[in-house]
Each structure stands twice: as structure tokens, then as C-alpha cells.
């Protein structure tokens, strides 16, 4: 898909022929187009190994990391490559992710301590305690989950899967004490309760983070907290 904000009212499709090589991924095909056919084609990429999370695009309608999607799996073609859905398109295959960055910061994805230990002291964790949150910490912010989420497409105010999963990653960290601060933002209607559990975010996640699971577990925690505050208005801590 092509879109040039200088002169296009809306995006349009352009077709390129690329060689089909066994070891090539979709990103290799895009780089072939950029290097040999049309240098103006714009797209983001960096690591080529599924770590940086910048080459996410919709490949044949499904959000994928283009560095991890083999051309042979899309054979015989054609392969339809579009920018990630649900985000404003800036140019060709590049989307504007500022909205996500704001939501991510609002989820406070860092360790919050009521009292910090002196620098010389360490925060110990058992392997079991690491296991509690490890899955959610694998997120690479590739935003495939946002592109797969129809709720985010219909209501851009929704916090979205990755931001909530990352909030949950810190909530479940034994060193963290900031769950209550995150709860204020995430238990709003546009937070966890906006999620209708379509479950596609989990299916497209290349790192098996399971954001859908994180959101549902958060709903359970939020409900229990609400019930506690109702039954024990003064002693819910």
C-alpha cells in the first residue's frame, strides 16, 4: 500500500514483482523493492530478528512481523502488505504510534516503590516470582495486538492490549508497590473494561505475551478490589 501525504487523498495499491527465495522473509522483499525497484517506498525496520518490534505490518490482512514471515509461506502470492491497522498512516507502510506511547506512559510500566532501598541493597527474587510476570515482560511494543484489536479500531480511547499487559507485568512483580496507582487509570471504562475479549491480540502476538489473558486477569483483580472496598470500606488495603 502506498500513501504520500503531500499529494494523496487516500492510500492506493502498487504491485511489484520480487524474486521468491527460500530464505527470504517479507521484509527482504520490501528491501528488494526499496533497493532495486522504487527507492521511495517507506517502511520501518531495524533488527531483522524479531526483537526490535518495528517492522510490524498487515500481511494478507493479518498483523505480522515482516522479518518473521517467510515469503514461501505466502506463496504463490500476491502478498498484500498494508500498514498496521487502527493507526493513522503517515506514509506508505509507516503508521503514527504516538497514541500508543501516551497510553504506555499512562500505564506506568516501571517499578514503583513506596520506599526505595539504599543503592547498595538488592531486590531479590525467586525463580517462581520471576515466572509470575516473565511472560508479560516479553512484549517488544510491536503493536500487532493493537492492529488486531477491533475494540481499539472502533474506540481509539481504549488503552489497548500491550499497555495493559505491561501494566500487569509490573503489578505482578514482587519488587513493585504501584498496583494501586495503575489501577486508577486502568480500571476506567477505557481501560480494562473496554476489552470485550475478542482474543485476537493474543493470537497475533509474536512473543506469546497473551495480552488478552492479562486483561481478563486484571478484570478479576479489579473486581475483587472493588468488592473488598465495598465490604471493608476502611480496611481494604
Amino acid at each position: 500500500m502506498r500513501y504520500h501525504p503531500e499529494h494523496d487523498q487516500e492510500p492506493w495499491f502498487e504491485t511489484y514483482e520480487v524474486p521468491l527465495r527460500k530464505e527470504w522473509v517479507v521484509l527482504d522483499a520490501l528491501n528488494y523493492v526499496k533497493d532495486h525497484l522504487d527507492g521511495s517506498l517507506t517502511f520501518r525496520w531495524s533488527c531483522r530478528m524479531g526483537v526490535c518490534g518495528s517492522c510490524g505490518m498487515n500481511v494478507n490482512g493479518v498483523p505480522k512481523l515482516t522479518c518473521a514471515t517467510f515469503l514461501t509461506d505466502c506463496a504463490p502470492g500476491p502478498v498484500r502488505i498494508e500498514p498496521l491497522k487502527n493507526f493513522p498512516i503517515l506514509r506508505d507502510l509507516v503508521v503514527d504510534i504516538s497514541d500508543f506511547l501516551v497510553k504506555l506512559a499512562n500505564a506506568k510500566p516501571w517499578i514503583i516503590r513506596k520506599v526505595e532501598k539504599p543503592l547498595e541493597e538488592e531486590y531479590f527474587q525467586t525463580p517462581e516470582q520471576v515466572d509470575e510476570y516473565k511472560q508479560f515482560s516479553m512484549c517488544i511494543n510491536c503493536l500487532l495486538c493493537y492492529a488486531a484489536c477491533p475494540v481499539y479500531g472502533l474506540d481509539p480511547l481504549f488503552s489497548g492490549p500491550a499497555a495493559i499487559a505491561l501494566a500487569q507485568r509490573y503489578n505482578m512483580d514482587s519488587r513493585d508497590q504501584g498496583a494501586a496507582k495503575r489501577m486508577d487509570i486502568l480500571s476506567q471504562h477505557e481501560g480494562i473494561w473496554g476489552c470485550t475479549f475478542v482474543g485476537e491480540c493474543t493470537k497475533v502476538c509474536p512473543k506469546h505475551v497473551d495480552p488478552a489473558g492479562a486483561i481478563q486477569q486484571y478484570k478479576l483483580t479489579s473486581s475483587i478490589e472493588w468488592l473488598k472496598s465495598l465490604v471493608l470500606p476502611r480496611g481494604a488495603e
Partner: protein
């Protein structure tokens, strides 16, 4: 709250079609799952109507049963039955996602959370069937 950046470049936001859910089976399945709630509500209403008829004596109840035998009611209830089963199955399958049960430091596999739900469903259904057929 942190404010978004002030610089807003020109961009294109593709409109979302009303029929966005028809493009992929996973989305269509989700919409069907949501619609199934309407049929669950219908079954609840049907039971309430049945109790109401029962309260008003045998004649009223017989009339209710005749109404139940009308072809369109049978058709509606058949469709409702499949939707209610679909609702129950999807609900049970999603339960392990919402409940991360940990035992001895390890998270239980999804099947261990879903299986008791299914088992309870079978047991309750068997008891109801036994009560109905006994009479």
C-alpha cells in the same frame, strides 16, 4: 496524565466499516458469541413465562405448551439452543485465560481450569435430565 506531542503530521486514518467483522472468521465468531447473549436472555424469559403459566393453573399451562409447539417457536428455540451451547462452550474455553491458577509455584495448564467447568456442566445436565425423564 501525559499529553500527546503537540506536533501533528498529516496522516490518513482509514475508516472502519460497519461490516469489519465479516472479513475474518475469528471476528465473525466473536460477534456470534456476543449475539449468543440475546438467545441466553430469550431462554431466561422463556423459563419465566413457563413459571408464570404454571402459576395460573393447568389450562393456562396447556395453552403455553400449545404455543411452544408452534413451528416458529420450535424453530426459534432450536436456533436458541445452538447459540446457548455455543455461548457455554466459548465461556468455558475462555475461563483459563481469566484465571491464572498457580499450584506449587507453577501455573496450571488451561485444560485443568476448563475441565472442571465442563465436568460440572455434564453433571448438572445429567441431574436435570434425570429429574425430567423420571416424571
Amino acid at each position: 496524565m501525559i499529553n500527546p506531542t503537540e506536533y501533528v503530521p498529516k496522516s490518513y486514518r482509514p475508516p472502519v466499516s460497519t461490516y469489519w467483522w465479516l472479513g475474518r472468521w475469528a471476528y465473525a465468531k466473536f460477534i456470534l458469541r456476543e449475539i449468543s447473549s440475546v438467545f441466553v436472555a430469550w431462554i431466561v424469559l422463556l423459563v419465566l413465562l413457563q413459571i408464570y403459566a404454571l402459576k395460573h393453573g393447568p389450562a393456562e399451562y396447556e395453552q403455553f405448551q400449545m404455543w411452544l409447539a408452534k413451528p416458529w417457536v420450535v424453530l426459534l428455540n432450536t436456533i436458541a439452543f445452538f447459540f446457548v451451547v455455543f455461548h457455554a462452550v466459548t465461556w468455558f474455553n475462555l475461563a483459563p485465560k481469566a484465571m491464572a491458577v498457580r499450584l506449587g509455584g507453577k501455573r496450571l495448564p488451561g485444560i485443568a481450569v476448563a475441565a472442571p467447568n465442563y465436568a460440572a456442566w455434564v453433571v448438572v445436565s445429567a441431574i436435570v435430565t434425570w429429574i425430567v425423564l423420571r416424571g
